[in-house]
Amino acid sequence: MIEMFDVWKTYPNGTNALKGINIRIEKGEFVYVVGPSGAGKSTFIKLMYREEKPTKGQIFLGGFNVSRIKERQIPMVRRSIGVVFQDFKLLPTLSVFENVAFAMEVIEASPKQIKPRVMDVLGLVKLKHKAKMLPSELSGGEQQRVALARALVNNPGIIIADEPTGNLDPETSWEIMKLFEEINQRGTTVVMATHNREIVNTMRKRVVAIEAGQIARDEQRGEYGYED
């Protein structure tokens, strides 16, 4: 499903963020990406949804050669991936419903498809009753659930998340993690960069540790392994 062959990333300022990454992630897997701050986790994530281009190496994702595609094919790659961020990235002037529907409008789905599908995913993240509210009227955890609903609404095969619980308190973090777990159990591949030691050690999954731009460890049902 996702494969990287000898992937390097050097930023224009000369920083070597990734140095020779090789990895294979199967369809339906749940992978934590851990490692110290500045190790290259976010860069690793950004390469997958083609926010950044690798300096060297090949990246395959859901039938695309992401490292080789043309600029105008990027939207097609992004439509097969759902992305979730630490800062939610919701539009403040749109309601919860509109924020989620936005992702369907952009790919030109019909209003007939949009309405039931948006209500479906809002049901999945248990926010149906707040569909008409603005993001500013929601708690951080609820906002992240809206972002997750938006990432899921177009039925992507892969969900990529960069520290989705970074801004949330432990209890709320668990709620979000349970949702990711549920989504994964429905067959969606999940790749998540995280700093959350307790979660990684409790909800055991495959752990890929990146240190100084290289994969230092890759274990099934692994541990967080760092003292924060």
Binding site: R68, M76, R78, L91, V106
Partner: protein, 309 residues
Amino acid sequence: MPATSREGNTVMKIRTLGRHAREGVKNLVRNGWMTFASISAVTITLLILGVFLILAMNVNFFAQNVEKQVEIRVFIDTLATKDNIASLEQNIKSIPKVASVQFIPKDEGLKQLRESMGEKAYLFEGMDKENPLPDAFVVKTKLPQETAAVASELKKLEFVSSINYGEGTVEKLFAATGAVRNVGIGFIIGLGFTAMFLIANTIKLTIVARRREIEIMKLVGATNWFIRWPFFVEGLLMGIMGALIPIVILIISYHYLVDAINGSLIASQMFQLLPLFPLVYQVALALLAIGAFIGIWGSLVSVRRFLRV
């Protein structure tokens, strides 16, 4: 594997078109004062541009009228026989640059001379019996600018005694009308670019305000054109709205100007304003087209930078 066939659907759905129009209008309303500033910039620019356009078209019209009046008078040797005159006419007609040749017998020539003198016509009294004027041809060239060249060719023909086409004056007139035209065109192009720059800048401000929205659109897989369209609509509408006010102002004021000048004594066959129609249609169309172009260009230029998210 990497499949080119998986590109976005380039044929836009009607529903999507509706969405872009709605978004464009919504943005105009949402950014009320910036919209107002943009439209004002277009309005002022197009108003000045419209005044210049009307001025330039009238100068052009005047120049054409003057140019049309330019003619060459070919005076015929008094010794020429009827046959000589006929063959001279043939010779003149065979010059390719000549548009028309008209024979003016000396009596007719005298009459024309008297008329052109107006009050001083009494000076020619009693000349009917001893008409000193020779017979003449009046020659018009296809292009007024070729007058001098044709005149020098005519001079060489047999039985031509002399030639008159207001040497010097004609050349100066052409130089003057040409200069006026070029300055007008230069000014209009300059103003057009100023307006484009203003719109591009204003739309850039509205795009900065919507940066986050564009970033999220890109993240969820919007194509560049999907992102561009609302801005395209927005720019187009601003350009067109900016053109409407100047069009109305120009139609009304030109209507009064034409009434005032063409009905007055200053007006003559040479000096006249172009009639209201079809001039105002042409100017309105030009302003609408320029307004639309400026608006679209401004929006696309501004949005380009923000698509590299």
